[in-house]
Symmetry: D5
């Protein structure tokens, strides 16, 4: 599991805890650094989840995603780290995180990781 | 269940009650207020349902969706409230409500809630 | 079942009756009248079917769809009527009719009805 | 000229007053009421201008556009009112306002008004 | 000039008669009959005009366009007739009418006629 | 000038000869043979013209375009031939013919020829 | 089964016969004649198959599809004939042929026929 | 199995080996030669895989795909060769390779090959 | 004029100095901070120029654009600063810089500044 | 002027030398090497010209564009070289060459060079 502090993520109680419903959140403004070259990477992060007891507070999620801005991360790793952090904070029934990274060297990379079952 | 008055929703008898068929209604003109800041939120609301004894009268549905214009609602909550109100009024075999909210703070949110089975 | 005369629909023998294959026909030029206001409604009608003994002759289908031009019909009803008429005339193994109606009052409506199993 | 109070519009000094450059601002979240029926209208408002001594502060522009939410306005009129108000506040070299209104009764309306020369 | 009665077209005073501004109106729901075969034709009619003393009332324009529903007209002719009728009623500074007709026999036809100068 | 028989092209009197208006006709179903290899070529032919005394009858235009089906023509040549034939038959004020040919050997070719001034 | 000569279709050995993989081939340049009117029809033909012992040589497939150019065929029939001919020649594990025909009389037709199981 | 040297492919340990997650890599810049004519072919190669013990290092993958630039390969063969080479190097739980080749002779070809189960 | 150090911008001699030709460079990965809130802003920067004695070296341009990552800038200002810096370094015949900023508070902003004449 | 041998370019006489008409040719399959790194670059080359005495033979143009495959060229230079070579061979009235290069380091580059006047 990730060791990054997740103190930025705030949660609020799920207003409809008895129903299995899906929340999809998309942020096209994710940026981190390449751990090899130090150059900026850019991605669209999509988070889909079926809430358990809590839903994520959107402003804190925005701050959480911004916290990667000056950190170095590989594509495959950072997508899984975001999934781990959000699962720890939200205890969802199901969650999927998709990291769609901008082209580098003529190659487009997308990483999709899941927790639980839909 | 929601406590909003649903008196605006009028129903008419299903003209083909013996067949399982799907009605999909999309309104790109939903607006409510943010309960935190009081600022307007905008969304496209999509309603898919397999009618039971009744179908919804479209003009009354339009008025029902307009009734949120001056109310404060969180994204996850209002999508489920619309589902609850329509299920109460229509007794459908199946219903799905999708709220696709305009970007706020660089984040797009979509909430999908269902009742019954397709 | 519908009581509209279906004499316009001509059928021809299925040239490959032993194979389950799909025919999809789309007409973006359907128009009828609103039974409440008398104003014109417009729709795209899509018909998908797995033929049984017969296939529909396309010119007669065009005339059949034109025959609604001066009639008043609700969206949910007319989609099912078209399905009933075509099932009566063609005896298909499976048929789906989709009526995608133009926006009215800021609301888009699509009705999907099926006969048999795919 | 319009008599609506324009106190919401705040201006800041143009940081490059010696250069003729273009600023384009688009808000897809404009809503007002129909003065005939009282029903909500929706539009995308686009503002293009070559600044004079001032540029508009974006948050105050957002509040200005929100101030129409509960007012009744005809399409042709409100587009010209927005132009008049912004010209009064900003004294631009050139300004164009485009109001692209959602479909009503099967008809889409766009109004384009200009001040000065490009 | 056309001899069709234009009594359906209602006008209202131009609220900003001193400014040259453009109004664009698009109706994708125009239908008439082919004068040769009697079969329905479909078109999108776009009207752009710089108002003179009057603007067109939208509901009366909708009724005016519907009045062609049972009449036979050639593509080139009906586009010019609409231009003539609107120029007679509105006395605009400039007007353009575009009729974009649905494909017939594998051929798409668009007719563009203008009055005055932009 | 071309020596192909143009007897297929029928003309009808221009119903609005006093106005300069534009007619645009698009046929995505043009096919001829490559004069080098005998293999089929495919193109979309677009014809724009300001009519003089006559307009083209659409069915005869369709037959005219079909008449190239079994003939060998180079891209640059056939586009000019169509322009020459239509100018001869219609005496337009202005005409433009665009031949947009399907990709061959990884290369897309479009030829645009004009007669008169717009 | 079809009686058209299939001598144009050449096959080559499947280079990876032990793996179930899919080949999809799309030709937007199919043309035949309408058996009723003699007028040209146009279609996009898509062929998907899981090869058995052989794969189709592409140039011979191109010639095979061209061989329909002067023949009269109904939409439903010709799609099945192409499937039959290719199954005879290739002995695939699975094959699907889709014929997507250009609009005629305002109606779009698509025929999908399959052989074997995916 | 392929006999091409795969020494260009470098692997790095999977940072989340306990989770089944999907990596999708797309390169629109693949080019090889036609083994018949020696002329260049172009394709978009898409690789989707669920990593096993290793993930592919992206720069080495880019070099690997470039290594085909001067080699002659049939479409069906080269897609399977890429799959074989990557499976050998990465030992994934699942892998799919899609080769979408540019149009040749009016025909588009796409080859999809898989290893393991999703 | 801007006082930011422009040492990152490297230039190379224009290989065709006698011809007026246009170079267009687009970077969808520009990010800076909002000078009011400190929150990240994102933009696509497009630079079009007719070279004078020099052209810009692309890697140094990339580094130059990255240098704004931790700085606070208003939209209108930063677009003009980039134009000033590039004009200083390159002495172009003509240059245009377009900053297309991501939506904030439901408002999209685009700034276009030019130097010289096209 | 360029010193590359242009012997691949074959010309044929312009079949309509008295008319100013435009030929547009687009090849999305251009590839060369980066002169700095030796890595492949990819581009779409578009050539528009008004023919003088000659038009280009398309197969020889294809071979000419392929001849850059193993050469190192900068974006700005190679676009001008292609223009120079084609002007030398064809003596056109007007010619424009556009090189639209694939993204490198998050930056898209397009170079547009012209000869003569349109």
């Amino acid at each position: 599991m990730s060791t990054r502090p997740t103190k930025q993520l705030e949660i609020v109680p799920n207003p409809h805890p008895d129903r299995k419903y899906m929340v999809e959140i998309e942020s096209p403004e994710f940026t981190a650094l390449c751990p090899k070259t130090g150059q900026p990477d850019f991605a669209t992060i999509t988070i889909k989840y079926i809430p358990g007891p809590s839903i994520v507070e959107l402003k804190s999620l925005k701050l959480y995603l911004w916290s990667f801005r000056d950190e170095g991360h590989f594509h495959e790793d950072v997508t899984n780290i975001i999934l781990n952090d959000l699962v720890s904070a939200l205890k969802p029934r199901y969650m999927q995180v998709i990291g769609k990274f901008n082209v580098r060297g003529g190659i487009y990379t997308t990483v999709t990781a899941e927790y639980g079952e839909q």
